[in-house]
């Protein structure tokens, strides 16, 4: 029997290159132009939300009957706390109660971003856990998926109306109402990935070395779901921001005293023909935010999920 020559080990230079390639997936995503554009707009919105109090805003809930329905750019006189009057220009006009639209839109950014982020995190988190169980535990699969089918049949708006009548209108109710119908989508996505990955030889290999189910799911199966879930999370966030605006516009979302883009638009609806600025500005902000998230999601999908990419 001839001696076996040990396989030569790949030289260290090529190994360094190869490891760099492995880690670079997220780095690659960050270099994608769509991700950059979307990210920059989103970052801008986030800055606005955080810095709203110092960006020349006044109390967004302050009613000023003296300067109702002012058009953008008009100079108004208002009373300060100490009783003296001062003048300032209303950038985006005032609404029919004399509240400053500019301040309301900026503060409204907070609500929208919180709703978008919270819904994405909750829906993806819950969906991930349920999906892993459903995909891996055979007997639970049928039961869970039928429940998910049921949940999917509930329209978000109807659920929101129901919840508002049971509890009361508020940001938690809104988030809850949007999360519930989103969960089944995530569950289906995760489940389908688990079903394919669980047949992979390396998962079977891990089973045969006695790896406990929890570690098996966490270490060998779950990492495969991360990239598609990041993509799914962006789209969920965009949809959630839109839904929140719709709910608020219909008066079943955020209570009217809290400024949110949907609320501002609902406020301006009656006098839309005469004073379009009430709807225009929150509308622009809403459109740009949703667009930015969607552009970013597209870019992430192209880099993280090559199978779904349009370019390849």
């Amino acid at each position: 029997m001839s001696a076996i020559v040990p396989d030569e080990i790949v030289d260290s230079a090529s190994i360094a290159a190869a490891s760099a390639k492995r880690r670079s997936l997220l780095a690659l995503a960050i270099r994608n132009p769509s991700v950059i554009i979307g990210g920059v707009i989103l970052l801008f919105m986030l800055t606005i939300a955080i810095l709203a109090p110092v960006l020349g805003t006044v109390d967004p809930t302050r009613i000023d009957p003296a300067s109702r329905n002012k058009k953008p750019g008009v100079e108004i006189t208002y009373k300060q706390e100490d009783g003296t009057s001062a003048k300032r220009t209303v950038l985006m006009g005032t609404d029919s109660l004399g509240r400053d639209v500019y301040s309301r839109v900026l503060y409204g950014t907070r609500v929208s971003l919180i709703v978008g982020a919270a819904v994405a995190v909750c829906a993806v988190g819950l969906g991930l856990v349920i999906g892993l169980v459903s995909g891996y535990v055979r007997w639970a699969d049928g039961i869970i998926m039928r429940i998910m089918d049921g949940l999917m049949a509930i329209p978000g708006i109807l659920l929101a109306i129901a919840l508002v009548s049971i509890w009361r209108a508020g940001i938690v109710t809104v988030i809850f109402a949007i999360v519930i119908p989103e969960i089944p989508r995530v569950v289906r996505l995760v489940r389908s990935i688990v079903l394919t990955v669980r047949e992979e030889p390396y998962v079977e290999g891990a089973i045969s070395v006695g790896t406990p189910t929890f570690i098996l799911l966490f270490r060998h199966i779950m990492p495969n779901t991360i990239a598609p879930l990041i993509v799914q999370a962006t789209f969920t966030a965009a949809a959630a921001i839109l839904t929140e605006a719709i709910l608020s516009f219909l008066g079943i979302g955020i209570p009217p005293e809290t400024p949110s883009w949907g609320n501002i638009m609902a406020e301006g609806r009656t006098l839309f023909r005469v004073f379009p600025h009430n709807i225009l500005y929150p509308g622009i902000f809403l459109a740009f935010t949703v667009l930015a998230i969607n552009i970013m999601g597209d870019g992430l999908r192209d880099t993280l999920d090559p199978k779904m990419s349009k370019k390849v």
Binding site: P6, D7, I15, Y202, G205, S208, H220
Partner: protein, 543 residues
Amino acid sequence: MSVAQQPVLEVRNLSVSLPKGGDRAHAVEKVSFTVNPGEIVCLVGESGSGKSVIAFTVMGLLAKALKPTSGEILLQGENILAASEARLRELRCTRMSMIFQEPMTALNPVMTCGEQIDEVLKTHTKLDTAARKAKIIAILTRVKLPEPERVYASFPHQLSGGQRQRIMIAMALVLDPVLLIADEPTTALDVTTQAEILKLIAELQAGQGTGVLFITHDFGVVAEIAHRVAVLRWGELVEMGPMEQILSRPSQPYTKMLISSVPSIHPVHRGVRLEGVTVLRTDKLGKTYSGKSFFQKARTVKAAVDVDLDIRRGETLGIVGESGSGKSTVARCIARLIDPTEGKVYLGDTEIATMSARKLRPHRRRVQIVFQDPYRSMNPRITVGESIIEGPMNFGLQRDEAIARARKLMETVRLDPNALDRYPHQFSGGQRQRICIARALAMEPELLIADEAVSALDVSVQKQVLQLLDEIRVRLNLAVLFITHDLRVAAQICDYVAVMSKGRVVEYGSAEQVFGSPKDPYTQALFAAAPGRNWDFGKAGAA
């Protein structure tokens, strides 16, 4: 006209460059060869040798990233490299045709087979519908498909793999091209089907005087079908000559090495020891799959029926069979990756077939499995070291002890222990398979199952891994269950052989007995179909 004397295909000094950043500059470098009318030329080489690139270059189907940089390809004197896209389209099917490895993906699943052949005729001839139909039925008859009328109207999924490959051949030959390129046309098929397809290609080709460029990695197939052989390595032509000369008196060291790596079909006498302790025994093991559905009658498939096997310590039992014979099902039942539906599996004295998952866990250690595909059998996201120590740590070993064990095992499988912190994608297929063996051995198993563990490897690497497995078996006195479809591999490594067909063991005995005087008609047919059974490669290569 001297067309008959002129070679059908002449490749002169062909070089094809690879995109920058590859492991070498050229996929194919300065390759020259000819294919004469009525001749079968085999291009042989291991993976990455550039054999498929040559085929695709000839057909003008090369991926855009690859560019032919020099040389010419003459098809009956016409330079293909200079031909326009329109001219190439004209030439394909009429003058040159190609058949592919995977007949399922090469056919359109939503068109009937007849329509697909009809498409070729519609594009290249002016025949009317009736004449086309007659021609298709004629070619379907010529490729020996039963009931050509029915096949004409069948969709690809309604036919078997062998029948689909016949459809591909019919489609390729319907316009009597002068050149047929066959790219591993039988690799995806079972041996008995492979033998039929090879026979068919040889017959059709001899009848029409077609020149065939046959691409394969299998020297058995070469011995069966080739007139002349060209051996490729890293894109360069190593050696070319008549088949007998190359197989029995190769002149180049690489060819010698390749041919001596091909396992012989004659089993080696390995001195079977009957006194060993029985490690594994199955008793009427069976697995029935039943597709339960709310609305339909339950469909049942018996993947394994009444399988009785036993393996003693230090012994290798081979399970041989074609695809769908149930050999992997048996292996996976024994490893309890799937639950058997009938019968018993005794691991030593412990019955594990019906054990609950919780009770089974301590016994998992005792049976370890090495899978076929080295690229999918390790988690790509964790280092190979983590993969190896995972099992021992599951069973309570401390991390540093487990790492020490892993380092020792890396030496056992002849890899550098310092490579433990690398990721699987940094290793070649053969190296990964060694790591998988190390991972299995880390559990100190009593039984090692190798499920087609060398089938995805090139012959030279395959030989090394087989030697390693055998060495480990001797050194650790391990029982090995070796699942394979390759009779040659089985002959070299197994003490006992069980031949499976349609879920049942049809023949079971010592390797010498089964290979020397097979009794069951199925076993006999299987051996008769083994390509190149009359060549003893091991000896020829060594000479």
